[in-house]
Symmetry: C2
Subunit: 662 residues, 2 copies
């Protein structure tokens, strides 16, 4: 561990000590608890003879362990971000995996066995949906649909290509004797393994790409692929599992067709479930005006139910949740209140962030437990080589094909980043852990290989992709919202292109998007948006936003101005505040400002203690007074300093004036 | 049910249909699931021969049921608030219990058994902490500590009085033959029952009193009592249970002393645990500057862990959580960002609100299942009479005693409201369900009686307390924050009273509060507040707040002004927007405003897609331009309409001017 401590900065060493301390305390509390959600806490407040203080561990066990884990994750996050220089160089995911490795080793040494594992149930039902929900809800819809063709291509064709090639080649290598004899696996097993190891992982992609900031198109293609390949992975995985279970001899041609049908049902079904929930969600948020407080919860619930419902019918849950998020976002955001928006955004990001943290920590912890896996160098090395090679070949081939149709072709460097950014992650790990050892004899070898692949892609590729992107000079993301001007031009172009397509007699992408927008405007928005929102103009809102920000900056400037020139009668504040010292100065200053700016003591807005409403008090007369007073002050100061110059040249001097740093 | 449908308005009928529909759908999905948290979902993605679509109920069961219940509760809440006239007359808690009764009846008829019950584990570990956490965190600390004496008196002496009197009198009534022979209970059983039925319930008190709006002092006394009597209830309950279990003959004198010692440990220990967590929480939030996103989660986690840790050591969890909330609030709120504050507030209130909803629905549902309880009219009626009478007598006696010491005595009408507001609720119900039927033979009778008492207090008293308060002309809450002026005076009075106490040679309440404030200022705040926050003046912040609100109102007025008089060049917007109709008018108007107010196309602030930070873009030069432009416009309009009048009488005309509705 020496190399590691040397590589970290001071706060990070502190980090480990504190985290370990917390973890050991938590650990010592946990005694005999083995699994995460083993439910059924004994609901008894203790029994037997009367003791003054009792130890009720079994009663609080489940929530206590969960809360403790969340706490460990949060503390780890807080400590990571102490040193900003460090966090910009090393991706958080790497640090978390390392932390997991350390924690896992500590627990293993302390208790001789590893009670914690990345449980697939926990992962698929709780951790993954949080991350996918966040990703789907805040997905840039326009960008996503504009690149839908490429995304689908990579997600379907690319994943199939990777899966088959990896599977067949591993089998070939096995036949050639590179893989040891003890790895007891046939063609089906290798195809199964190929299927689960070949899918790009959304969690890993978000975690790494978010810190790299490549341009949006590149990001959306890799990220969209990682989300949409879920359907392919799920179907391949299930088909192979059933094939392995019935034995390769009993597979008939009909089963292959069933597999293809299954793919269509899983993907389209998942998407439909998501869209249905999106419509329900958007529709209900029309009617929450009186219970704003319920809005965020309602959104979480329905998006989550979209995931669960798809899971219930064994459809693609990730697709369902993604499309629920994309579908509802526009209407929901317009319907709910500003505070609800903040809460939704903040809570979603918090939950996703913490889920990600837990996943990576658990990945680290799971790797430590040697009883769960078996090592074969041939398998590990050939898998690593195959996934890297086939990913690169696949991307190159598909991009060549796609560039025939794309207006803006994907460059060579884009392809390098896409190949290199094909990270594998927790989904593959959870799937491999789910395998049944009775049917898949080589499970332990597959587990070890998956761990290595995940670690290699997340840690090595994750660490090096940033320098690579810099070195290749990949266009970075500009990270800004489109301006109103750009938006207007974009819309104009859309219409022009639609017209062009119309004239050329084509029913292309722009034609259908135009049709969709008409439909949305005429029917969907009417159904799903509040009346008050429906009639509001977006431009108007933008103007209002700018104005409010502007107003706040006015206030700030007046404040600074007054603060600098403050003078007036000084009441003796010592009567009020008995503590002398540095604070007095502050208070004096405050006092001056108040004396100059406030007219007479006034009441604040009424505020209300209620759990059901969040009322903002009514406007009162007193406000007007403040307004007038301040307006007057501003007028005076404004007039004396700027007025004459303004008068002279009303139009042209604005810009220069600004740059003078008014 | 006829009377009930007649009493409701149209939306409420709609409500029932929709809720029932949802519930029946959910119900039909649930098939064989019996308990809420029976954990251990089978983590397998199905097995056996390959089928295209599989039904994975057992896999998603647990989260699906929980999410569905939350959904039912949210929908119920949304529907209740459709009709505001209705909701102001009938407390939500009553409606929810009725809904629960209906749902329970439907489920019972549909499935012949009642799978849902208010599970004490669920209640104590998840629902109650949400409500207590919200109550504690947003507790008005000053008001609470100012009335701490009275609160403690009612919580300890009052609860003991109620418990003993009810227990002994029920035993007496049993001896007198009023209660049927089949109720097989001795003195200890009745004392146990008296203990659990006599505690005022925080959930019920919040639910009802929040809608009544009595004055703060009255509210804080009843509410504080309901929180702080938890220690008494827990200890009495546990002591009696152990007595009942070992048999009344085996109880020795030492056990009684143990009971008293236990009370001290449970209450003081709980409080200490809470305060320790409060300090940890406040301290950690000093260091979250780089990971704002984690702040809300961190707060929830630590407040919840305070509850669980107290529960773990069988201390008073409610006390722990309350004091954790009260203790950390001041420092945490100052340390975290504005968005985190909004999220914490919103999320806490959402969760508390939904937990309350679920509790009341479950109370209704639980009542329907006849297999769980047995009826005895004598027991029910005498219990009801005893708790009402002893509550009234207890309150009167204690208030008489307290009024010797109180500066502002509690009036007769206050006492009536306090007696009448002694609501019993879900805590009593959960405790009675927890009883072991082997030891407490009469459990079923106690369950029935508790249900009746809870329903009577929540429904009948809850419905009538509002008219009663009106009729008695109880001083209502003014619902406003203290003005700066009031705050300053309050502080001055505090110091004066401290001085008076000092001169009189007393070490009274004011003396100690002053000492505490000194300590807080010199040590605690330095330890627990960020440096930047510690040096900030509160007055300064208040001023800034007023100013920003004021600025926004300036903007609003300018906007309205411009909107009314808008005119200018009109570009043809049809090029941009192809849909003609009513929207055009809006767009035109917007366009005019923009043409008049915007100088040139400008960029919005940069915004950032990142899960770890919520960066607000930097200020840009362009802002200054907007500022200048708007300032200028305002100046012009202001000058032309108001300037001369202002000049004439700069000071005195402000107030009149305001009332003219500027």
């Amino acid at each position: 561990m020496i190399w590691f401590v040397n590589a970290t900065t001071q706060p990070c060493i502190l980090l480990y000590h504190i985290s370990l301390l917390i973890f050991i305390i938590v650990q010592s509390l946990m005694c005999s608890s083995l699994t995460f959600l083993d439910g059924e806490s004994s609901h008894q407040h203790g029994g037997g003879g009367y003791r003054i203080v009792q130890w009720e561990w079994s009663y609080v066990q489940t929530p206590y362990i969960i809360a403790s884990w969340l706490l460990v994750a949060s503390v780890a996050k807080i400590l990571f971000h102490f040193s900003q220089r460090f966090t910009t160089a090393v991706p958080e995911s790497c640090m978390l995996i390392l932390l997991g490795l350390v924690l896992g080793a500590v627990v293993l040494i302390a208790s001789k066995k590893q009670p914690y594992q990345l449980d697939p149930g926990l992962f698929f039902l709780f951790l993954l949906p949080t991350i996918v929900g966040d990703a789907g809800y805040f997905m840039p819809a326009r960008l996503f649909f504009d690149n839908l063709g490429a995304i689908l291509m990579y997600a379907v064709v690319g994943t199939l290509w990777n899966a088959f090639c990896t599977g067949f080649c591993l089998y070939g290598v096995k036949m050639a004797g590179v893989i040891d004899e003890k790895v007891n696996a046939g063609l089906m097993d290798f195809l199964l393994f190929g299927a689960l190891i070949s899918a790009v992982d959304p969690v890993a992609v978000i975690a790494v790409f978010e810190e790299v900031h490549v341009n949006e198109t590149l990001f959306i293609i890799v990220f969209g692929e990682s989300l949409l390949n879920d359907a392919v992975t799920v179907v391949l995985y299930k088909v192979y599992i059933s094939f392995v279970e019935v034995g390769p001899g009993n597979v008939y041609t009909a089963d292959y067709f069933k597999g293809i049908a299954s793919f269509l049902i899983v993907s389209i079904g998942g998407t439909l479930v998501g869209l249905i929930f999106a419509i329900i969600l958007a529709f209900v948020t029309r009617f929450t005006k009186n219970v704003r407080i319920i809005e965020p919860l309602f959104i979480f619930l329905l998006v989550y139910l979209a995931y669960l419902t798809a899971e219930l019918f064994s459809l693609s849950a990730i697709l369902s949740m993604t499309f629920c998020g994309i579908g509802c976002n526009k209407y929901v955001e317009a319907n709910i209140s500003q505070k609800s928006r903040t809460t939704v955004k903040y809570t979603m990001k918090t939950l996703a962030s913490i889920a990600e943290t837990i996943i990576f920590i658990f990945l680290g912890i799971s790797a430590v437990d040697k009883s769960k896996w078996a090592w074969d160098t041939g398998l590990v090395v050939s898998t690593l080589i195959f996934i890297l090679v086939f990913r690169a070949v696949g991307v190159a081939g598909q991009t060549w094909f796609l560039n025939w149709f794309r207006l803006v072709p994907l460059e060579k460097i884009d392809q390098v980043v896409m190949s290199y950014g094909g990270l594998r992650g927790a989904v593959a790990f959870a799937l491999v852990v789910l395998l049944d050892k009775e049917h898949v004899k080589a499970k332990d070898y597959f587990v070890a290989t998956t761990i290595v692949v995940v670690f290699f892609t997340v840690m090595f590729q994750g660490l090096t992709i940033k320098p690579l992107v810099k070195w290749l000079k990949v266009p970075r993301s500009t990270n800004r919202k489109p301006t109103i001007n750009e938006e207007i031009h974009e819309r104009a172009f859309d219409h022009i292109l639609t017209a062009v397509e119309d004239i050329a007699g084509l029913n292309g992408y722009h034609h259908w998007r135009d049709k969709w927008e008409q439909f949305d405007k005429n029917y969907l928005s009417k159904l799903l948006l509040r009346k008050s929102v429906y009639h509001k103009s977006e431009l108007w809102e933008a103007y209002q936003k700018i104005n409010i920000r502007d107003a706040i900056s006015v206030i700030d400037q007046v404040k600074v101005f007054v603060r600098e020139n403050g003078s007036g009668v000084c009441l003796d504040l010592q009567v009020i505040d008995t503590v002398p010292g540095a604070k007095i100065e502050e208070d004096l200053e405050t006092h001056h400002v108040l004396v100059e700016n406030l007219y007479k003591p006034r009441r604040q807005y009424q505020s209300h203690y209620s759990r059901h409403f969040m009322t903002v008090g009514e406007k009162e007369r007193q406000d007007r007074e403040v307004f007038q007073r301040n307006m007057h002050n501003r007028l005076e100061s404004f007039k004396s300093t700027r007025y004459k110059r303004h008068k002279k040249d009303r139009r042209s001097c604005h810009t220069e004036d600004c740059s003078n740093g008014y």
